[in-house]
């Protein structure tokens, strides 16, 4: 039993090496193709067909992330509050919400795109047109289940003794949740937010039919635009700007890395129990 070749260890290492090797390979592939194509021009504020600047796309991406989070985080966190702190364990509403969030989490992005087009964009319904509004609303629904499930998990992992401690001092439930439970659950919620940002950054199918793909700097939330992923998609489509598409992917990877790094910094701050 203790002798011979250790297959389990071998396969565990091999699989991890495969996974991480693949990621490294993909990143190198992008950098290889993308870095040579990078130029200062690609960051000018104005998009033209010559510079195919990604600056408007970077700005739109950030705005969409920000607003989608501003909407989805409170809704998601409040839903988590309801599920964990209020609903009875055997409430009938609970499995319905769970079914809804599980299904939302599994809906393919192209279906979100179709829905967004039929509901938000089409003038027969909300008539928002191809716009940041339509894109943001669609993406908000898409990330909602991520926020809900990570909040729920984070809240459930907060030791009940803290809730008891607060309630026993005569604090109401609201005060207990906001001042005692929420701060402790914060790192967990944050990691859900990071996942959600990743989802937004990587999304294209759902946005092409809602946000549209205008390359220009947005003039307001009712104008169309593109995120970096959509920018990449559009640049690559006709074969005119494939190199620039890789350059965009390079920047996208850098942004994802930054967000990941930022999140570890923040959760380390939160983890040490802010002072």
């Amino acid at each position: 039993m203790n002798k011979g070749f250790n297959w389990v260890k071998f396969f565990a290492w091999l699989s991890a090496a495969f996974t991480l090797g693949m990621l490294l390979f993909i990143i190198l592939f992008i950098l290889w193709n993308g870095v040579p194509a990078l130029s200062l021009d690609m960051f000018s504020l104005k998009y033209t067909t010559d510079n195919v600047s990604m600056m408007p796309a970077i700005i739109s991406t950030l705005i969409i992330i920000l607003i989608a989070l501003l909407i989805a985080v409170p809704i998601g966190v409040f839903t988590g509050f309801y599920l964990v702190e209020y609903a009875d364990r055997d409430s009938k509403f609970l499995p319905i919400i769970r079914l809804a969030t599980d299904t939302l989490a599994a809906v393919p992005s192209i279906v979100y795109g179709l829905f967004g087009m039929l509901f938000f964009v089409s003038s027969q319904r909300l008539g928002l047109g191809y716009s940041h509004y339509a894109g943001i609303f669609t993406i908000t629904i898409m990330i909602l289940p991520l926020i809900i499930s990570s909040t729920e998990e984070a809240l459930r992992s907060v030791n009940d003794s803290l809730r008891m401690g607060s309630l026993a001092l005569g604090a109401g439930q609201l005060r207990t949740i906001f001042t005692v439970v929420l701060p402790v659950a914060m790192p967990g919620i944050l990691s859900g937010i990071i996942l959600a940002i990743g989802r937004i950054v990587g999304e294209s199918a759902a946005l092409i039919y809602t946000l549209g793909s205008s390359g220009q700097l947005l003039q307001g939330l009712s104008s169309s635009g593109r995120t970096l992923a959509v920018h990449m998609y559009v640049l690559s489509q006709e074969g005119f700007h494939v190199k620039e598409a890789y350059a965009t992917a390079t920047i996208l990877i850098v942004i994802v890395l930054l967000i990941n790094w930022l999140s570890t910094v923040i959760s380390r701050k939160l983890g040490t129990g802010g002072k």
Binding site: A12, F25, F29, L83, I97, L104, I141, L144, Q173, V201
Partner: protein
């Protein structure tokens, strides 16, 4: 005090309302997709649509049979499972029980990052790297079931790894200690005691991975060949339900467009079935 009571009740309803928003959202999505696609399916005939093997949407006598796409989705998803599940589970075991802390600090965010790389990037990568290899090994265009399966298998890794790692970590350490205390090796303790105990969590992870695989579009579209034909071998191309929609949505109009929304309805039903299995497994876990 009266005021704080009011606030408590009021906020409770605010939270309840927030919770109901996801239910409202899913109903809206359900409604609009079904409203767009269901009439077409009924008109066309459920059997013609689901079991028809010919897809010629723009012919003068159009044929809207999506069986090839249903088969395509199932085969490619199965392939993704064959590639992604063993690697994913072994990697998650690695992450939870074999990974040196120094490596972990780098590997964990790396795997999170894998989930945030846009699908198109995966697609470009596979088209440039996997397709030529596949063409050399299997012949044909290289855009085939195997290529798509490998690509999807890789794309579902972060989903599977993340969830199964956390379910493996959730297993009380006391199980592991008991096994080691009986003289079992680290490997045996992990594989025979800890991993089986995390079974239901791992299965959930796999099911979520399957959902991801079925729903993936922008990457597969570049490497599956997209032929709307039931394949006769692994080196044949296939078209999946999602790629069928994305391929033609931009250029379809009239009944063709309705047929694509109807394809989304079928896709939706697939997702619901997978979810039902997921819920069933979760509920069984609850009763254990």
């Amino acid at each position: 005090m009266m005021g704080s009571d009011f606030k408590e009740t009021f906020m409770k309803y605010v939270f309840m309302f927030a919770a109901s928003l996801s239910v409202i959202s899913i109903i809206l999505i359900f409604y609009f997709i079904f409203e767009g696609g269901l009439p077409f399916i009924l008109e066309e005939g459920v059997t013609n649509f689901i079991f028809g093997t010919e897809w010629r949407p723009t012919a003068s006598n159009p044929k809207f049979g999506i069986l090839p796409m249903i088969v395509g989705s199932i085969i490619v998803t199965l392939g993704a499972v064959i590639v992604g599940v063993p690697v994913g589970i072994m990697t998650s075991i690695f992450m939870a029980h074999f990974c040196p802390p120094n490596l972990y600090r780098f590997a964990k965010p790396a795997i999170n990052m894998m989930a945030a790389i846009p699908s198109i990037v995966y697609g470009f990568f596979a088209l440039q790297v996997f397709v030529p290899i596949s063409r050399n090994l299997l012949g044909g265009t290289g855009m085939n079931i195997v290529t798509a399966s490998v690509l999807l298998g890789i794309m579902i890794l972060p989903t599977i790894i993340g969830l199964s790692e956390s379910s493996i970590r959730a297993i009380p350490r006391s199980y592991y200690e008991a096994s080691v205390g009986l003289g079992a090796t680290h490997e045996r303790s992990v594989m025979n005691v800890v991993v089986p105990a995390a079974k239901s969590g791992i299965i959930s992870a796999v099911i979520l991975g399957i959902g991801r695989a079925i729903g993936e579009t922008m990457a597969v579209i570049l490497v599956t060949g997209n032929q709307p034909v039931i394949p006769s071998g692994l080196n044949q191309g296939v078209r999946t339900l999602t790629t069928n929609i994305v391929l033609e949505m931009g250029y379809a109009s009239g009944r063709h467009q309705e047929a694509l929304i109807a394809t989304a309805v079928v896709l939706f039903i697939f997702i619901l079935i997978i979810n039902a299995v997921f819920m069933y497994i979760k509920s069984r876990e609850g009763n254990d």
